[in-house]
Symmetry: C2
Subunit: 197 residues, 2 copies
C-alpha cells in the first residue's frame, strides 16, 4: 500500500508537471489531473494540502529529476573535461525539447513568469532550485577556468547565473517561434563565443 | 462617443496588461478587469471578440508602448553613440522595474511561458513583436559595430537575439529572487563584457 501510494503521488506530480508546462498553473485544473490518471479527486488531497502546495512539490520533483540527469552525465565525464560535460548537458536538454511534440520549455521558467508574484511558497521553492542549479554549473565552470578553457575575467558564479538567464530566455523564444533554433543558437553562442577565454 | 470608446478600450488594455503581468492570463478573469474599471461585462465584448483576442491586442498595445519609449530615447541620442543609447534603454527598463511595487517582469516573456503553446493567435503576435524588438536592437548594434564599440565576430542580429534571451531570462530570475539585482547584473555583463570588441 505504501508503494502504491508513492506510485500515485509520483504519477500526480508527473502529470501535473506536464500539464503545467503546457497550459500553465492557472490553466490546469485539479480535475483534469486526476482524470488523466483515473483517480478520484478526493485522493489528490490525501497527498497535497492545496494546488499551491502541489505546484511547489512539482517544482522540487522536477529539479530532482534534472539533478539525476546531471549526476549520470557527470559520472560519465571522461578526460576530466568539465566544459565538454557542461555542453553535453545543454545538448541533452536541446534534444529533449526537439523530441517533444509540444515545445513546453522549462517548468521553472514558465512557473516563475506566472506564479512568482502570487505564491510566496512557489517563489521560495523556485529560488531554492534555481540557486542549486546555478551553484552546480558554477562548480564545473570554475574547474574549467582553472583548466583555462573558460574566461577568467568574470567569476564562475556570475557566468553560471548568466547562462541560466540566456538559456531560460532562449526557451521562451523557442516557444514564441515554435522552433528549437533559438535554444541551439543560444548554446552555441555561449560555448563557442562568450565563455571562451 | 468615439473618443470615449477609444478611452474605454485603451483602459481595458492597460488594466488587462497589468493584471496579466501580475497573475497571468489564466489567473485573471474578465470580470476582474471590468470591475477594476466599473464598466459592465457586456461592454468588454463590444471591443474584443474573446479573451484570447484581448490578450493578442494587449501584446500589440504593450509593444507599441515600448516602441514609443524607444523613439523618445533614440531622438534624444547625442554624439551619435548607439551603444550608450542602447544601454540607456536597458537602464530605463531596470529603473521601471525598480520603481514598480510588484516585480511583474515582461508581459511578452510571461505570456510566452504561459500561452504560446495553447494559443496560436497569441503566439503569432508574440513572435511578431519579438522579431520587431530584435530588429530594432540589431540596427543599433550594427551601427555600434561600424564604430568599433561592439564586437564584430558575431552578426548584429545574432547578438540582438542573444540580448533578448539574456534579458528575458534575467527578468524571470528577478521574479524568482524578488530583487532587481539579476537584471542589473545581466545588463552589466552584456554591456561591460560580452558585447565588447
Amino acid at each position: 500500500m505504501v508503494r502504491e501510494n508513492t506510485h500515485i503521488k509520483e504519477k500526480l506530480l508527473e502529470v501535473g508537471a506536464s500539464l503545467f508546462c503546457e497550459h500553465g498553473y492557472h490553466g490546469t485544473g485539479i480535475q483534469e489531473i486526476v482524470d488523466a490518471l483515473s483517480v478520484p479527486k478526493g485522493s489528490f488531497y490525501n497527498y497535497f494540502k492545496s494546488k499551491e502546495d502541489f505546484a511547489a512539490e512539482i517544482v522540487r520533483h522536477y529539479a530532482d529529476h534534472v539533478s539525476e540527469i546531471w549526476n549520470v552525465l557527470v559520472a560519465k565525464e571522461s578526460d576530466d573535461d568539465p566544459l565538454t560535460m557542461l555542453r553535453n548537458v545543454f545538448e541533452l536538454m536541446i534534444r529533449s525539447q526537439e523530441a517533444s511534440p509540444v515545445k513546453t520549455g522549462c517548468l521553472i521558467g514558465n512557473l516563475a513568469g506566472e506564479l512568482a508574484e502570487s505564491s510566496e511558497l512557489c517563489r521560495g521553492t523556485l529560488q531554492s532550485v534555481t540557486t542549486d542549479w546555478c551553484a552546480r554549473v558554477a562548480c564545473h565552470l570554475e574547474r574549467a577556468q582553472v583548466q583555462g578553457t573558460v574566461r577568467r575575467d568574470v567569476e564562475a558564479d556570475e557566468l553560471a547565473r548568466f547562462c541560466w538567464d540566456a538559456w531560460e530566455g532562449s526557451l521562451l523564444r523557442m516557444k514564441i517561434e515554435n522552433s528549437t533554433e533559438p535554444i541551439r543558437h543560444c548554446v552555441s553562442l555561449l560555448f563557442d563565443v562568450f565563455l571562451k577565454p
